[in-house]
Structures are given as structure tokens and as C-alpha cells.
């Protein structure tokens, strides 16, 4: 594979799926993979299970949900009060555009303009912000946008030729993981495995907590996206990881300590095949690998994350070559893990 299926990635990233309201993205994924799996179902929490062959001893997951905003109230001037779904820093939100797909309505996040804002020292919090949807009083705001409605960043996903192919869009965390899983599901070299598209990762690794109890797995891979902080004036370990450095396979992160031997082995397998990969330079972040390792069958848990800049914001920046090298790394890893099982047996 030397080109990504950009149209599929575009559809996946542009789909609406905040934590707790994942049905649109789930339906999109169902339609993409239904002809390639032996079992396809959701559990009572909303996780989508896609089984290839007999499900095998390998569990792979990626989360469908994205960070977003929930409307919590109204101001008398017709603007909306809101809070975060998942973690979004309020600081740079003013002036960003949001979209309510179910209502086909746009909004702009506002705060007092800088010319008039005498208090520049205090950190902005959600109670200082509002969303302007064009209503001029509370009653019309209520009739346009009910309380509890969720809005996402208004961003269209685009591909550019520079930098070896660059993708800019929202929700790359973790629709990119979903994209990789959809492609793995269609790959004939993978015969038996259980793929789960999870819910509510951003609001507490909720979906992944119960999902691995659906089978007896020896291995689990959490496919996510991680923050590349390789920006101007940032050096050393504060870059966390680099764009175009290949998949990030951690030894340790903010939540999990990984099996040292297994991760080292994977690094040597990938190096033999000339597939670039990197590790996380700082102990930050956490993902579903944490939930997998706590599953009843205690599978060996591995985290594979694609580096992306500006995650949890309106536009993330992703390199095509990282997507391709991550896909190749996954094929190599899965083959290594599943053959190793056979040769150990």
C-alpha cells in the first residue's frame, strides 16, 4: 500500500461522533466493512465488534468518538453556554467555528474581544465562553438549539501534496485508528482477529473497559493517535514524538507500563523490515492499552499511535507517510505475534 484511501479517511473524520453519540460514525464503518467480516454487532454500551474468521487470539481496538462541546445553558442575549465533551483547552477557543449537524446550524465561539478585555492575566474557562448561533434572545436560542445538544469543530478534511502528502482535518484522533482498522479488516493476510470500534474513550476509556471480555485474547493492540509536539522553540523530550517518524510504540506512557521484552522485539522486527518507528519521549497521555491489559484474560497489551499535531483542536496535521508506515508496521507485528503463538505452541 503506497497511497492512502483519502476518500474513506475524509468520510470518517468528517462524520459526527462525539463521546456518547457515536451512531453516525458507527453506521459509516458498518457499511464499509460488512462484507469482510464473519460477525458484526454492537454491545449494550455501543461498541462495534467486527470479527474476522473465528476471532483469533488477537484483539485490536480504536475509538470512534471525538472531542466536542455540549450545550449546557443560555445567556439572556441568546448566546449559548457550553462545556467540553472530553478534554479541550478553552484558551484558544474564541473565534473558532462549530457545527451542529443534526440542526444544520453553525456557531462561533466567543469571548470578550482583546481590545476590550482588560483582564488578560486570568486563564479563560468555559464559564467565560459562549457560542453565538445568531439568536438574539434566550427564547429563540432555546427553540433553535435544545440543551444537551452537542456540536463539533466545523472543519473539512483536506489532502495536500506537500511534505510527502499532508492531511488536515478534525477528529484525526481517533478516526485515523478507525481507518487503519477498516483497512486491516479488508486485508486478506489477516485471517482470525477481533476488531472493536469503541465508544467514549475520550470521556474515560469507557467502551474499551468491558470490550476485551468478549473473548480469550493473548494479545491486544490499541490503535490511537498521539500528540506530535515537534514545533518551533520546542526541543528534546518535549517534542514527545515527530511527524514523519513513523508509528509511536511506547515503552511507557501516562497510564501504562508496557511489556519491555515485547516492545523491544517489535522494534527489532520493524527495523529488520526497514519500517520506521519511534517511542514516546515523555511519560504523557494514555489510551485504551490501559483497559486491554486489565481484561480478564490479561492479554499482552501494545499501544500503536500515529503522530499528529494539534490533536483535540479544530485542525490536526497528519503525514501520509506515517499512516502508511503504521499500516505496514501493524501487518508485520500481527504476523509476528500470531506466528510466534504458533511456533511457541
Amino acid at each position: 500500500m503506497n497511497m492512502i484511501n483519502f476518500q474513506l479517511l475524509k468520510r470518517l473524520t468528517e462524520a459526527f461522533g462525539p463521546s456518547g453519540s457515536e451512531s453516525e460514525i458507527k453506521d459509516l464503518i458498518v457499511n464499509d466493512i460488512r462484507d469482510h467480516v464473519s460477525k458484526l454487532y454492537t454491545d449494550s454500551l455501543g461498541n462495534l465488534f467486527a470479527v474476522k474468521g473465528n476471532g483469533g487470539n488477537l484483539f485490536i481496538c480504536a475509538h470512534m468518538d471525538e472531542v466536542a462541546f455540549m450545550i449546557t445553558g443560555y445567556r439572556s442575549d441568546g448566546t449559548l453556554r457550553f462545556s467540553q465533551v472530553g478534554g479541550i483547552t478553552p484558551k484558544s477557543l474564541p473565534s473558532k467555528r462549530v457545527y451542529f449537524p443534526k440542526l444544520n446550524r453553525f456557531g462561533i465561539i466567543g469571548a470578550a474581544p482583546i481590545h476590550l478585555n482588560k483582564n488578560t492575566k486570568q486563564e479563560l474557562s468555559y464559564s467565560d465562553l459562549y457560542i453565538d448561533i445568531g439568536a438574539f434572545d434566550k427564547e429563540s436560542a432555546i427553540s433553535l438549539v435544545p440543551c444537551g445538544e452537542v456540536a463539533v469543530f466545523d472543519t473539512k478534511t483536506e489532502y495536500f501534496e506537500q511534505g510527502g502528502g499532508i492531511i488536515m482535518g478534525k477528529a484525526i484522533d481517533d478516526r485515523l485508528g478507525c481507518y487503519l482498522m477498516c483497512q486491516l479488516i479488508k486485508d486478506p493476510s489477516i485471517k482470525n482477529a477481533t476488531f472493536v470500534f469503541t465508544v467514549q474513550e475520550e470521556t474515560g476509556l469507557i467502551g474499551a473497559h468491558c470490550a476485551p471480555s468478549c473473548g480469550n485474547f493473548d494479545f491486544g493492540i490499541a490503535l490511537d493517535v498521539t500528540t506530535a509536539n515537534d514545533l518551533p522553540n520546542i526541543s528534546g523530550p518535549n517534542t514527545i514524538c515527530k511527524l514523519r517518524g513513523g508509528p509511536v510504540i511506547s515503552f511507557i506512557d501516562g497510564r501504562t507500563l508496557y511489556d519491555n521484552e515485547a516492545v523491544s522485539e517489535i522494534f527489532s522486527v520493524l527495523s529488520r523490515l526497514n519500517i520506521p518507528c519511534q517511542t514516546k519521549a515523555k511519560r504523557v497521555g494514555g489510551n485504551e492499552a490501559f483497559s486491554i491489559q486489565n481484561a480478564p484474560s490479561a492479554p499482552l497489551s501494545i499501544s500503536v499511535s500515529v503522530p499528529c499535531r494539534y490533536i483535540h483542536g479544530p485542525v490536526g496535521v497528519l503525514a501520509q507517510e506515517d499512516v502508511l508506515s503504521t499500516y505496514n508496521a501493524l501487518i508485520a507485528m500481527i504476523s509476528h505475534l500470531q506466528n510466534k503463538e504458533e511456533s511457541d505452541a
Binding site: 462525539p18 453519540s21 454491545d43 470521556t203
Partner: protein
């Protein structure tokens, strides 16, 4: 009014301080639960199940935590003052001068020490550092005299008596006895095609410990957690509060089952029983957080009863909100069509 006040008085005969709830500590089931055929599990949770006649009936769980915040006796000073440690979250600034009941060998009335205004400029040693515990004055003259009536580990609750006024109940522990009362009222009159399980759990205020170890009688298909919500009063953030007297609320969340939450709204509408909504992105801070992850995943929603002055001696709820909550329980239990959650996409599944 009579019924709710009586239930409340029955429920406060024994202390239910988080971590030393009477059923957990003494292994005995007190009234009114014993008269309803309750079962006790290993961590003191009380279970009451009402089975339907259909062997394929679904299982619905209604949960309310039984424990309330309180203190426990840590020790006694030489001069007979009790030193007590908190079990649950308190606003420390309101404690001085507040009356408490120590449930020792007998019920002992006490007052948390305070400094009178004349002397407010004198800073005692304790106020210089972050003290976790409080000192209670029971009037004992010595340590020896104190130990005749109290022992380390004894439970301490707010001493306020219940006031019933103009349709309002004012007292301590209405977080979460108000919800427990609503469930008990529903239990007596509900008639459902589904199996109903009522769980009164321990340890919520000190870490949701009872629910995590609950001994479930079977796999639950649906769960509703009943707790109290912030009743709107002056100075509070409107977006986090619900109105008094307009019925319970369902929390709209990004961490629980939005499908169940939307379903409850429809059920309340068709049963014409009042239901508010409150947005709780980021977590509800209730037993639902733990409950939904048990048994491989239970779809859960949170129902909150409006309450003012939470975690003080004068918690306030309205009688009508307790009745509306009981009506909602019946509407949920009596619904023929439960939310469709598990879906199979391929024909042969």
C-alpha cells in the same frame, strides 16, 4: 406527608455513615428493609427483587446509595473532647458550632468547637495547618468519662431533627434518603412485566465501594441510578442546577448511555410525569460511573432528585419531587418497550 416523614424516621433509627453503615457493620437488616424481604450481601448492600412471571423477562436495576456523610470518632483528648475524622465531603467552613449526634453506647449530643467573635483574632494551633478532623464537645469532663459512652470508631451524624413545612422536608441525610424513600414508595405500588431489582448500596460517599463489590442476582439489562441533584438557589451556576418542585432530572451525559437517557425522556412524556434535564459532560459523580462497567457493561442513566444545601444539616427536598420520582420509577418499570441497545448487522447472526 405522613408516610414520607414516617419512612424517614424509620430510616434514621440506625446510622448509615459511609463506611460504617449499620447493615454492613452489624450484618443485620433493619426496618423498613427487613419487612420488605431484603437480602444483604457481603459488603452490606441491600437487595430487594420483584420477579415477573415471564421467564424471558428483562432485568432492570434501580439503585440508590444508602449511606450518608458523617464522621467517625478517632480518639478523645485528655479534657474529654472527641476528635473525629470525616467520612465524605464536607464544607469545613460551616462546621464550627454545628450539632452532631455520636452513636456510641448511647446517642450523645455534641457540638463542633468554634471560636466566639470576641476572640476571633486569636489563632489556635489547629487553624495554622490543614486539619482533617474536627473536635466535638459532648460536655464530658475527662477522657475516662467520655469512654464510658463512646468508643473510637463510633459513627457521628448531623443532629438535626426533621422539619416538615409547607410541603418541604428539611433534615440531614436527605442525600440520599430522599431517593431511597422514592424507591421504597415505588416498590410498594409498581406492577411490571420485567424483573425489577432494587439495590441500596453502601460506601458511595467515600469512594463508591459498595457498588463495585455488589453481589448481583443476575445479569442486568438496564440500570437507573437515583441520587440527588443541585436544587437551584441564589448564587449557583444555573447550568449545573435543577429546579425545585419540577420533578427529578435525567442527566444528559457523554459518559453514560445517551440512548437510555433519551428513552427516559420519552417515557416520562407518555406517562405525563414531570422530568427535567441537566447536562453533565465529564461525569456525574455518582455510582453510575462504576456501575456501567460491571458485568461486562450495563447501560445506565442517572436520575437526580432536586435538593438544596447538599451535605449540610439542613438539606431540603420537596414532597412533590419525591412523589414524582416514585412515579417515574413506575413509568420506567411498566414500559412495555425497553430501549434497543444490542444490534446484530449480518443476517445469519
Amino acid at each position: 406527608m405522613f408516610e414520607i416523614a414516617n419512612l424517614y424516621r424509620e430510616l434514621t433509627q440506625v446510622p448509615y455513615v459511609s463506611g460504617k453503615e449499620y447493615p454492613y457493620f452489624f450484618g443485620k437488616i433493619p426496618l423498613p428493609f427487613s419487612s420488605l424481604g431484603a437480602r444483604i450481601d457481603g459488603v452490606g448492600n441491600l437487595w430487594i427483587s420483584k420477579k415477573a412471571s415471564d421467564p424471558l423477562a428483562k432485568n432492570i436495576l434501580f439503585e440508590a446509595h444508602l449511606d450518608e456523610i458523617g464522621f467517625c470518632v478517632e480518639g478523645v483528648t485528655e479534657n474529654g473532647f472527641l476528635h473525629a475524622l470525616p467520612c465524605g465531603g464536607f464544607d469545613r467552613s460551616i462546621l464550627p458550632g454545628t450539632e452532631f449526634t455520636v452513636h456510641g453506647k448511647r446517642k450523645v449530643r455534641s457540638i463542633a468547637i468554634s471560636v466566639p467573635p470576641h476572640l476571633s483574632k486569636i489563632k489556635d494551633d489547629a487553624s495554622k495547618k490543614e486539619e482533617e478532623g474536627i473536635y466535638l464537645d459532648c460536655g464530658f469532663a475527662s477522657k475516662k468519662e467520655a469512654f464510658e459512652s463512646v468508643s473510637p470508631g463510633d459513627s457521628i451524624t448531623y443532629a438535626s431533627d426533621l422539619i416538615v413545612q409547607d410541603g418541604a422536608f428539611i433534615g440531614h441525610g436527605l442525600d440520599n434518603k430522599a431517593s431511597v424513600i422514592a424507591l421504597l414508595l415505588a416498590l410498594e405500588k409498581v406492577s411490571s412485566p420485567h424483573n425489577l431489582h432494587f439495590l441500596f448500596s453502601t460506601g458511595e460517599e467515600t469512594g463508591k465501594r459498595g457498588i463495585c463489590c455488589a453481589d448481583f442476582p443476575c445479569k442486568m439489562d438496564l440500570a437507573f441510578v437515583f441520587d440527588v441533584g443541585f436544587g437551584l438557589s441564589a448564587d449557583l451556576d444555573e447550568t449545573k442546577c435543577i429546579q425545585m418542585g419540577k420533578g427529578p432530572s435525567v442527566s444528559l451525559t457523554d459518559t453514560l448511555s445517551r440512548t437510555c437517557e433519551d428513552w427516559v425522556i420519552k417515557i416520562a412524556q407518555s406517562a405525563s410525569t414531570p422530568l427535567q434535564t441537566v447536562c453533565e459532560p465529564g461525569g456525574t459523580g455518582t455510582n453510575a460511573t462504576a456501575l456501567q462497567l460491571l458485568q461486562g457493561g450495563i447501560p445506565t442513566a442517572v436520575i437526580s432528585l432536586p435538593l438544596r444545601y447538599m451535605h449540610t444539616a439542613s438539606e431540603t427536598v420537596l414532597e412533590k419531587d419525591i412523589f414524582y420520582t416514585a412515579d417515574l420509577v413506575c413509568a420506567i418499570a411498566e414500559a412495555e418497550q425497553l430501549p434497543q441497545l444490542e444490534v446484530s448487522y449480518l443476517e445469519h447472526d
